[in-house]
Symmetry: C2
Subunit: 359 residues, 2 copies
């Protein structure tokens, strides 16, 4: 007899795999799914492949993240990568490293979210792996997508505009809120508001959801590729500054950002103002917003705006690309100040966002 509290170590690998397999539905294009030496799937001429992982204690804490939202997010992180290349997501494998004390309820909750998000995105889970660890939980997802026209990081040209979808900074603000005791339950409802006031509840809820259950614009990159609107694209996962620098490095150009044009998330900004700061640093460096950053020639801006209307996506022209060695700058008046790409670096201890946000 098992219950949600039963540690996976009491269940054993073989029975846990059998249980998880029983939860995974058959999917289109899946010839052989979970349970053989490898999955066998139908593919086209071009396949996109990406992988990402979350590590307990680095990317999430169990007490901060309902497992279903964690399952949704790890798949979303990969969906965002396929979307930024203009691909259509198709098949995923899931690999879990679990210590023996992890309760079955955590794994089932994780799969609740994975399966829900996969169904939303048209993705079939086709296999995976379960392994013991003596350390933190690791969840790794590898996602395959179908591609034909591809959007790359390389291709931005001097004179191109740098355009961002949606708003930035809410996910980083959500991380700060988690650190101050704010909590969502697995339904995405506000459970604890942390130290913020009653009137801030809508903003707290918005930012927690942005952090724990991001919703990238998954179809927009594909529209851009079909309409040949953009020269280059990247998903804003590490932070606008770091991801813009990546486009510059791949395209061998520089770029500048107008700080007044950065679409700071309004809810994040309101919470920051209540603390005496502003949200610009979160929007520049915070990461995990999973919006799209694109490089387009100015004459395609109207076409881009037309597409954004169809997908109901806000757009912000945050700057432009220029020649010269790869590097990024802040434009203040007529002057350009070199900007440090303060992206999240997994090898350095997490930055004290409390200290950097008021810049």
């Amino acid at each position: 007899m098992t219950s949600p509290e039963t540690p996976v170590g009491e269940i054993g690998e073989r029975d846990l795999l059998r249980h998880l397999r029983s939860r995974i539905p058959a999917g289109p294009g899946v010839v052989v799914g979970v349970g053989d030496d490898a999955a066998v799937i139908e593919t086209g001429a071009l396949t996109l492949m990406t992988t990402d992982c979350v590590v307990e204690g680095v990317h999430f804490l169990r007490e901060w993240t309902p497992p279903a939202l964690l399952g949704r997010k790890i798949l979303t992180m990969n969906l965002s990568d396929i979307a930024a290349m203009a691909g259509v997501p198709r098949y995923a494998t899931v690999s879990l490293c679990l210590s023996t004390e992890v309760p079955l309820g955590f794994v089932d909750g994780l799969y609740d979210g994975l399966l829900e998000r996969a169904a939303e995105a048209g993705v079939s889970l086709v296999g995976g792996n379960v392994s013991r660890t003596n350390g933190p939980i690791v969840v790794e997802v590898t996602l395959l997508g179908h591609g034909d026209r591809i959007l790359r990081r390389a291709g931005a040209a001097p004179g191109d505009l740098a355009v961002v979808t949606g708003s930035l900074g809410a996910a980083a603000e959500g991380l700060r809120l988690l650190k101050h005791g704010a909590r969502l339950d697995s339904e995405g409802t506000l459970e604890e508001r942390g130290v913020w006031s009653e009137s801030s509840a809508p903003a707290v809820l918005h930012c927690l959801r942005a952090q724990l259950d991001p919703r990238p614009p998954l179809a927009f990159g594909r529209s851009l590729a079909e309409q040949e609107v953009a020269h280059a694209a990247i998903d804003v996962s590490d932070g606008l500054s770091g991801d813009l620098l990546s486009v510059c490095e791949e395209s061998d150009v520089s770029a500048w950002i107008d700080p007044k044009a950065v679409p700071v998330d309004a809810f994040a900004a309101s919470l920051e103002r209540a603390r005496g700061g502003d949200g610009l640093s979160l929007a520049l460096h915070g990461g995990e917003d999973y919006q799209l950053l694109v490089a387009i020639p100015p004459e395609r801006l109207e076409a881009l705006r037309d597409l954004a209307v169809i997908w109901e996506l806000p757009l912000a022209v945050v700057g432009a690309f220029a020649g010269g060695p790869p590097g990024i700058f802040l434009k203040e008046g007529e002057g350009l100040t070199p900007l440090d790409a303060a992206s999240h670096d997994h090898f350095r201890p997490p930055r004290r966002r409390d200290e950097t946000s008021g810049a």
Copy 2:
């Protein structure tokens, strides 16, 4: 300035990724390799996908495993899965979870082995991920292969013979040798023999290599599929007993093993005899030999032997499949004794092979 001793935490994620990327050569079929949001690769109508990981402290210890051999082995584990499905390996992603103190030399050594094994097998590394952890090192590889005719675990029929390639037990004996101080260097040369005598050196070397640098019969499964020789196949990664049970479960049959027919590795057996035991338990339950277990109708045995001669592979008919609910048995005289599938279970602490080997 970096040296092999430099901790990756001092290098930072961006520079480490740039360094690793610079080491990865372009490969056939790779349209976009490492460095974009996703890799873009050429695929055919059917693709095989498998993933596996190794966790420090569970699957390896740094002091036991030269990093280059670890890199070879994690790719080999995945190659074996694709081979057992009769696929041709093509593209791999590598995901690393590293604590900040891990020296660059470890990562470079790991990539030495990964790149060497990938080149041997015709595999292109197309992407990956590097993440910080506060826990043990985790190396995850996801491998895609091309498939047309597929060998599955399902399909074994009552009356089929159970046939194993190569010999079994050397990898498990190698694990025991590591526990007793025997060591290989990164060239695969015996560095320390542990507690074994001078005359045992060739056997010690053989078993350490089987554990640390396994060489599965990668082309044989594909030949079987092309010649339509086998009903079902699996790679012997968990151990003969557990993997045979998996074939039974997928095929809805039972099976028995004749213990006298099990191809116990001669070197492992000699080391076990010196300790007063025999190698049968290692061969039945040890795992990690990455040989192939196939189910074939008796009338195809000659065709199977002909193929084995071409590939210079020893074959052993270890038993047969029968009707009834999934389960496995040992045949002793005319009687059948239920056999517990004592496969390696990652959720239970590693079995004390010292205690189980003399059975």
